[in-house]
């Protein structure tokens, strides 16, 4: 494992992106930083600027206003940057899927293969989020060994439904 990947695993700085969430997942993310779970012992720190981030924790279903800005934030983040979809809304828009203000879900707003890990739940427990981050960091090591092909977005059935 190269030193760059090892250092990235040991010090994942997280940035929190709320794309129109109800704030429940956001509160649970802050839980992870509080004494009971304390992800700072893994080196994770909440940073103020997206350019400092190694992992974007995205919450919320993508509504019209926020989807464009989430894409801009992803482009502004310095690569390599993991994207972790937190909560049912970020994973696939959840119960708000057919709402008037919703656009595509997160994995269609971002480039294919950008989202590394989906953590479902409403809200997901902090243990689930920590497990998701650990899986994302493990994926980083696996990607280092064999770079992935771009994921196809949607299937023919979804295209027929739309």
């Amino acid at each position: 494992m190269g030193i760059a990947v090892k250092a990235l695993m040991k010090s994942p700085w997280v940035f929190h992106v709320s794309a129109g969430s109800c704030n429940n997942c956001d509160i649970e993310i802050l839980d992870c930083l509080c004494p009971r779970f304390d992800i700072e012992r893994f080196g994770a720190v909440l940073v103020g600027s997206v350019r400092h981030a190694d992992a974007l924790l995205v919450t919320g279903a993508m509504n019209r206003k926020s989807a464009r800005r989430v894409r801009q934030l992803y482009d502004q983040a310095a690569k390599p940057c993991l994207v972790i979809a937190i909560g049912a809304c970020a994973c696939g828009q959840g119960i708000f899927r057919d709402s008037y203000s919703m656009v595509q879900p997160l994995d269609e707003v971002l480039p294919p293969g950008a989202v590394t890990v989906y953590v479902p739940g409403c809200p997901p427990r902090p243990e689930a989020m920590i497990a998701g981050v650990v899986k994302a960091l493990g994926q980083l090591v696996a990607d280092q060994k064999e770079p992935p092909e771009p994921h196809p977005v949607g299937t023919e059935k979804d295209a027929a439904d739309a």
């Binding site: 030193i3 760059a4 250092a7 990235l8 040991k10 010090s11 509080c34 004494p35 304390d38 700072e40 012992r41 893994f42 080196g43 909440l46 940073v47 103020g48 600027s49 350019r51 400092h52 190694d54 502004q76 310095a78 690569k79 390599p80």
Partner: protein, 313 residues
């Protein structure tokens, strides 16, 4: 000192490598004490090293319209300033060498890291960075005044010398400056001033994460951010070391003196950390009022007390 000796002193001991390693360990101490005070566990010992290495491996993004020379030159200026100060203080304390006026040189080299943050913020072409840079400018104008005033106290008491080695020698013979009334006031004012110089809460308005999203450093990423973070870690060594050497008795000539010096340095670091954990961030105007008001008056009182102690009528 010959050229190879000088290069060794500047790059290895007590120069860049020594300052970087001690700075990383002490910044870990700061994070661990912070975590303990907040009833958490905190990061492992090598965490600052992993942070630095990780940042070196990220890509560098430069905003469109930003000036590349100032944007990339700013962190290097900060690093040069703190390395120079740390080396000079280390050479005076450990190798007992210096030159006339090195106190003044150390004083203005200590401004360079803050200047680097200001320059980097203004070069970033980002309104949040400009806010952060202007706050840092106000803060520097605020704390430099009492800081320079209290450095008159050891100069007056040691008979007007401007050499770090002579100040240390005076303290080894006559007891540390902090053992007198003027010295105690000077030390207390110095602790507040170095809290602002190292940009720690309650004086970290320039790099406020929650308010201005990283402030002056908002557009930095990759190796340039790594150098800014390394500079901040190295300030954790250089600045309290400077205060211990100039105001609190230095490191002494015996083994017991050296151990006492290390204890004094660690006490300063713990005071800084506890101040950081128990206070909210001040508004910039309150911070400047604090430095120009209470701190400047206390510094003037300390200078007056030093004059009375040295030249009693």
């Amino acid at each position: 000192m010959t050229l190879p000796q000088a290069l060794l002193a500047f790059l290895v001991f007590p120069g860049f490598l020594f300052i970087a390693i001690v700075g990383m360990v002490v910044s870990w101490v700061d994070r661990k004490v912070t975590a303990r005070v907040q009833y958490r566990v905190g990061p492992p010992l090598l965490q600052p090293l992993w942070d630095f290495l990780k940042l070196m491996g990220k890509e560098t993004v430069i905003p469109r319209g930003a000036s590349p020379l100032a944007f990339f030159g700013a962190p290097l200026i900060g690093l040069a300033g703190v390395t120079f100060v740390g080396t000079m203080v280390g050479v005076a304390v450990f190798l007992n060498q210096g030159f006339y006026g090195d106190l003044i040189v150390a004083l203005y080299m200590l401004v360079l890291p803050s200047l680097a943050v200001i320059m980097g913020g203004i070069a970033s072409k980002n309104p949040l960075a400009s806010v952060g840079a202007s706050r840092e400018m106000k803060l520097v104008v605020g704390y430099e005044l009492p800081f320079i005033l209290i450095l008159c106290v050891p100069v007056i008491k040691a008979g007007g010398t401007l050499e770090l080695t002579k100040l240390l020698e005076y303290q080894y013979q006559n007891g540390s400056f902090a053992a007198s009334a003027s010295g105690v006031i000077a030390l207390i004012v110095a602790i507040f001033c170095i809290q602002a110089k190292m940009a720690l809460v309650p004086f970290d308005q320039a790099e406020a994460e929650t308010e201005v999203m990283g402030g002056a450093l908002v557009e930095y990423s990759g190796p340039s951010l790594a150098i800014f973070k390394l500079t901040k870690m190295m300030m954790f060594y250089a600045v309290p070391m400077f205060v211990v050497a100039v105001l609190w008795g230095g490191f002494g000539t015996t083994v017991a003196g050296t151990v006492l010096g290390v204890v004094k340095y660690l006490v300063l670091v713990v005071i800084i950390t506890l101040m950081r954990n128990t206070n909210p961030r001040l508004r910039i105007e309150h911070a400047v009022q604090f430095f120009w008001g209470l701190m400047t008056l206390s510094a003037l009182a300390a200078v007056a007390a030093a004059l009375v102690e040295t030249y009693p009528f």
